[in-house]
């Protein structure tokens, strides 16, 4: 079991994640969101890593406060968070206003691979992989 800490005083559960591409890796802050079906990353990050929209596997869109945001689905070389890593991990690339203060959302496409327990008062997440180790 892995244990990761977050700041219980924050308004969101902010988790670090590492995204890999041709140009290395970028460590970013994502909001853990169990209501998001996918994992989202800002295009500023994927552009920096050397990806291009032409590598996208599908055009996607999400609803936002200002309407429908166009974007695309992309498989990144490697994605790490909560102490676990996956190769060829699918993310959705959509723009986020700078004022959000995060680079995306850690959604169920990542979280559903584990059992996890969010202990909000303690600021801890306990994560167990599928095999329970």
């Amino acid at each position: 079991m892995k244990v990761r800490r977050f700041d219980p005083d924050d308004d969101l559960i902010i988790i670090k994640a590492k995204v890999f591409g041709k140009h290395g890796s970028r460590v970013v802050s994502l909001a853990l969101d169990t209501a998001a079906s996918h994992t989202h990353v800002s295009p500023d990050i994927v552009d920096e890593l050397g990806y291009s929209p032409v590598e996208g596997e599908a055009i996607t869109s999400v609803r936002s406060a200002v309407g429908k945001e166009p974007g695309y689905m992309l498989r990144v070389r490697r994605f790490e968070s909560l102490g676990f890593a996956f190769d060829d991990f699918p993310i959705h690339v959509h723009d986020l206003p700078a004022g959000f203060g995060i680079d995306g959302l850690l959604g169920l496409s990542f979280l559903k691979r584990f059992n996890y327990e969010i202990r909000s008062l303690e600021g801890r997440i306990l994560v167990s992989p599928a095999d329970g180790r």
């Binding site: 308004d11 290395g24 460590v27 998001a36 996918h38 945001e69 206003p97």
Partner: protein, 90 residues
């Protein structure tokens, strides 16, 4: 003035803690390099700021303008995250 001229180039900072970075660059996006990573905490203990600015892309633009090329870069916001706008991706 071209965009390249508009980007202010700053030297790499000394090693700083996250608290020190937030105090020096309040409510900004920062690119940090040479992170001393603590696996237990899943966070860095100290790092150098290679770029900063008010837009998400500004720190990377500043790094490029300064000729800084690091394979592993952290990208974080020093202010408080505002949850009210996170209303999408359902």
């Amino acid at each position: 003035m071209s965009e390249a001229h508009a980007i202010q180039v700053e030297p790499l900072t000394e090693l700083m803690t996250w608290a020190q970075i937030c105090a020096r660059y309040p409510d900004q996006w920062v690119a940090v390099v040479e992170m001393d990573w603590d696996d237990e905490a899943d966070d860095f203990t100290v790092a150098r700021v290679a770029g900063h600015g008010i837009t998400r892309r500004a720190p990377f633009d500043q790094m490029r303008a300064a000729g800084l090329n690091y394979e592993h870069v952290g990208h974080f916001f020093t202010g408080r995250v505002r949850p009210h706008a996170i209303d999408f991706a359902r």
